[in-house]
Amino acid sequence: MVVLRDAVVLVGGFPLLSGVNLDLDPGTLTVVTGANGAGKTSLLRLLGGLVTLTSGAGTVSGVDLKSGDLRELRRRVGWLGHEGSFYDDLSVRENLTFAAKALGRPTEEIPRVLERVGLTSRTTTTAKLLSAGQRRRLGLAWLLLRRPETWLLDEPYASLDDEGRTFFDELIAEVVRSGATVVVSAHDPLRSSSLRPRTLTLAGGLVVGDVS
């Protein structure tokens, strides 16, 4: 569940978002698109509690963006950005073990998750040595372990190969079916036609197009 009303985000005096209104229901997939610098990443960062709302109002996964606990919010959303989202100096397996233990999950799930994202052959490789696409996959594995309520994915297709994109589409379809709210920023349309996402177009920090 995501609600935004006239959301404005200013950083260093520059409006990253200049008044966004949004209602996203659980179990839906939204693709955010728009020109470079339109504010896609900024929107996702706002929803993930990584930047604070300057004015306006908003709720994500039941947490108020203005007065709520941003730590609680971050605990409920899953975030995958351009940069790596794990410890660069730990191996693939150690990263996932750390996450599982921190979440109190059984570490037995890990081999299954690795299998799923296609990193089984790289379990002992230090994360910083992974290729761009493999880093993406490790980030997805970390999310898979957590299965958050709200998924925020910034250009997930970038640097994923064909097979990776197919896996990703399947994953998203499954997650959306299970009732999560998924927001994806992308320059390419998603490939799988079965997903039928809602497409928002941003420009100048505003929503200027909305196609379901």
Binding site: V8, L10, V11, G12, G13, F14, P15, S18, G19, A38, T52, L202, A203, G204, G205, L206, V208
Partner: protein, 240 residues
């Protein structure tokens, strides 16, 4: 009504009291038996130190604590903390300067590694560090939280400074005005002058704080105006 009146009177009253302090301190009170005219610093240095340590730094620390407490968290607290800290830095530096000026003839050195002097200098460094921390962060929310925590840590110093003269036997004057058994060591007109100086410098602090706070608010409004402009421009970016 009363509020505006008191606000308007704050400046003049401060000036009058400061003038009174100087008049009493320089002309009316007698020179000391031991220290001679040097003792007149008694009406400047303790008052400035008192303001630096308790009034201004205290204000900053309390405002910081109130900021950290969820229910009283507001921009106002952050601003008060910051402004008070800035004024406090000035007073700490004045404490060091007046102390040094006093120390040169009485102890023979400008500076000594005495417990109170050192701990005061350390508090000054804390305040400088606070200002550096302030400038190193752009995000107002993050900045406010980091600075508040830092101010709380710095506050640990205040009791250390105060009790340093008792804990370590040092050069610096022990409690002079009020000793532990409540005896007054300073009498008559000297005592009165001392009290007036305390009061005058305390008012001076509030006066400075108010001026500084206004500046901060002004800055915020100017910032808001600039933001509206930036917002309009950013929205135009989206039109074409």
């Amino acid at each position: 009504m009363i509020k505006t009146l008191s606000q308007r009177l704050l400046g003049p009253v401060t000036l009058v009291l400061l003038a009174l302090t100087f008049w009493l301190g320089l002309w009316v009170t007698p020179p000391d038996k031991v220290q001679g005219n040097l003792a007149r610093l008694l009406y400047v240095h303790p008052a400035i130190a008192w303001v630096a340590l308790y009034v201004s730094f205290g204000t900053a620390a309390i405002a910081s604590a109130l900021y950290l407490w969820k229910r009283t968290r507001s921009v106002v607290m952050d601003r008060v903390a910051y402004c008070a800290m800035e004024v406090s830095t000035v007073f700490i530096i004045l404490t060091l300067i007046t102390g040094s000026i006093w120390g040169r003839p009485t102890w023979g050195v400008w500076w000594a590694w005495d417990a109170r002097l050192t701990s005061t200098a350390i508090l000054g460094l804390f305040e400088l560090a606070y200002l550096a921390l302030r400038r190193a962060n752009d995000d107002p929310d993050l900045r406010a939280r980091r600075c508040a925590v830092f101010a709380i840590i710095a506050a640990i110093n205040v009791p250390i400074i105060h009790f340093s003269v008792d804990w370590w036997n040092t050069l610096h004057q022990g409690a002079t005005v009020f000793t532990e058994n409540g005896n007054l060591l300073v009498h008559g007109i000297m005592l009165w002058t001392l009290f007036i100086s305390l009061f005058a410098f305390t008012l001076l602090f509030f006066w400075l704080l108010r001026a500084r706070y206004r500046l901060e608010v002004l800055r915020a409004t100017r910032y808001d105006v600039a933001l509206d402009e930036a917002l309009a421009q950013r929205r135009r970016e989206g039109v074409h």
